[in-house]
């Protein structure tokens, strides 16, 4: 039957979390046609969060983090194969080696890769790592197990901080160099990042903030680095944790709206072309996507969150096999987590979309708290430290645009809950790592600072 959305050929490019979950969901939605999943890594889909935790701690090996299937999506898996382009008119995905895969509908879920050290020669020194893939984690874990004298971590974002935490837990000396004023400042804003800094120092991390690494040194093997304040760090392992680059280069000639922030799509995961016209047959999901969110001023959001990959894959799959009026929007509230230095940090909403914060529960001293973020008088995010059970409550406040400071309701509301302090959201260009949540419009404080000429 022509136009039968439950049949035909679907190609998914990207064989990680979003690609796998979309493939499963397509079958759950009743898709009976042919399904092909293309992935450039040789492995079946695997889970990345354990790489910076269990694997670096030596509790698991990198090759055991394969993702379980919820059901067999009956797909043809083309693993270890790189897609090199898309011909939107001929409806074909081009593969390396010249092969092309015809599709009726295409899902792009190519995710991100680690941002490498900018100087190729320095980055190639033995002992210099990034952490994104199974191989990265395996190699780094091996080095940590061998007991290096000191590890230098460049970038104090989530990945960098988790690596530093794992190093300390293994009893290794570690230096973290962060260009911003504190670790995690890009994700959590200024106030909570001060707790992150204290946490690292209390655990023996040699934390250097407000500095950049200007050069990696070594003769074949990494021996140390020079910092912008003129100091030098002697270390034998270096982890470059400068955030991620979205895998969009292969779409440069495609005519899709693909750029460094990701591939723009509508709330239904339908890709835009370069003129901002929505495509009918190309969908996007996961880290590589960039989509408008009504809770955050309809700004385009780029999220590198595990949960976003899962949710967006589900929505994209639904919309690929259902006609327009039955399609769903992807409106999930962003959320992420991190475990480091013995603390469980979880977040809902977009903390950087804020002008003020209050501590609604707990306290910094107790290392157990719920911080609520507001923007122009409404709740836009919350971060908990070892208080995960409270998050659903705050998610509800965000979804309903509750007034900020939040209304009474939390159990141990201290006086701190009434005193809003500036959220100190940094300019992302001042961070050494890329933010894992990127608002690609204006930062709230920037928008407020726009002034009209007086004469």
């Amino acid at each position: 039957m022509p136009g039968d959305l439950k049949d035909g050929r679907i190609v998914i490019v990207g064989a990680s979390l979003a690609g796998l979950r979309a493939a499963e969901a397509l079958r759950e939605e009743g898709f009976t046609g042919s399904l092909t999943v293309v992935g450039d890594e040789p492995h079946p889909p695997y889970d990345r969060p354990p790489l910076s935790k269990q694997v670096l701690l030596g509790q698991a090996t990198a090759d055991t983090t394969g993702l379980p299937m919820r059901r067999d999506p009956d797909a043809e898996w083309r693993l270890g194969v790189r897609a090199t382009g898309v011909d939107l008119l001929a409806k074909q995905v081009l593969l390396e080696g010249g092969e092309s895969l015809p599709y009726d509908r295409l899902l792009i879920a190519t995710g991100t890769r680690a941002r490498p050290w900018p100087d190729q020669e320095e980055g190639a020194l033995d002992g210099v790592f990034t952490l994104r893939t199974r191989e990265d984690a395996g190699g780094l874990a091996e080095r940590l197990a061998a007991g290096p004298e000191r590890v230098l971590v460049i970038g104090g974002g989530f990945t960098g901080s988790e690596i530093a935490s794992a190093c300390r837990e293994r009893g290794l000396e570690v230096t973290v160099a962060e260009r911003g004023p504190a670790p995690l400042v890009g994700a959590l804003g200024g106030t909570l990042s001060k707790l992150a800094a204290a946490m690292q120092r209390n655990h023996g991390v040699d934390l250097r903030t407000g500095v950049t690494v200007t050069a990696l040194r070594g003769n074949g093997s990494f021996t140390g680095a020079e910092l912008s304040d003129g100091s030098r760090v002697d270390a034998d392992v270096c982890v470059v944790a400068l955030g991620a680059i979205r895998n969009v280069e292969w779409l440069a000639e495609s005519g899709l709206a693909a750029g460094p922030r990701g591939i723009a799509c509508d709330a239904g995961c339908r890709a835009f072309n370069m003129y901002g016209i929505v495509t009918d047959d190309v969908f996007v999901a996961g880290d590589v996507s960039r989509f408008p969110h009504p809770l955050f001023g309809y700004q385009m959001l780029s999220l590198e969150h595990w949960g976003n990959a899962v949710e967006q894959a589900k929505v994209a799959a639904h919309n690929m096999v259902n006609p327009g009026p039955l399609q769903h929007p992807h409106l999930a509230v962003p959320s992420f987590w991190s475990t480091q230095f013995g603390l469980n940090i979880k977040s809902v909403g977009v903390p950087t979309y804020s002008d003020h914060v209050v501590i609604a529960q707990g306290s910094l001293e107790a290392r157990r708290l719920a911080m609520v973020y507001g923007y122009q008088g409404r709740v836009t995010a919350a971060v908990t430290v070892d208080m995960a059970k409270s998050l659903d409550y705050y998610r509800h406040l965000i979804e309903t645009a509750a007034p900020f400071p939040p209304p009474p309701g939390a159990q141990d509301r201290a006086i701190a809950a009434d005193i809003a302090v500036p959220s100190d959201v940094p300019d992302p260009s001042g961070l050494s790592h890329g933010p894992i949540v990127a608002l690609t419009g204006h930062l709230p404080d920037r928008r407020l600072s726009v002034v009209q000429p007086t004469r």
Binding site: L20, H43, P44, P45, D47, P49, P50, K53, Q54, L57, Q59, A60, T64, T65, G66, L67, P68, M69, R70, R71, D72, D74, A75, E76, W77, L79, H305, W306, G307, V310, S335, F336, W337, T339, G342, L343, N344, R368, D386, A388, K389, L391, D392
Partner: protein, 69 residues
């Protein structure tokens, strides 16, 4: 068998830690670490843990087999 915990959902009830302590472990007060590859003799325990999880955050299943369909 492989397992994955949706830590976006996890709220630290730790039922899994009681039911399958060889697979699930609390790190600090409520950070959860787990063995992604489940040993055969632990599969039944992980099934129980998945059933008992108050927020249904645990998924157990086969890995994608490497080759074609």
């Amino acid at each position: 068998m492989q397992t994955v915990v949706d830590l976006t959902r996890c709220q630290g009830y730790a039922q899994c830690v009681f039911l399958a302590p060889d697979v699930f472990e609390l790190h600090g007060e409520e950070g959860l670490l787990y063995a992604t590859a489940v040993p055969d003799d632990q599969v039944e325990r992980v099934r129980q843990a998945a059933a008992a999880c108050p927020v249904q955050a645990i998924l157990l299943g086969e890995e994608v087999s490497g080759g074609a369909r």
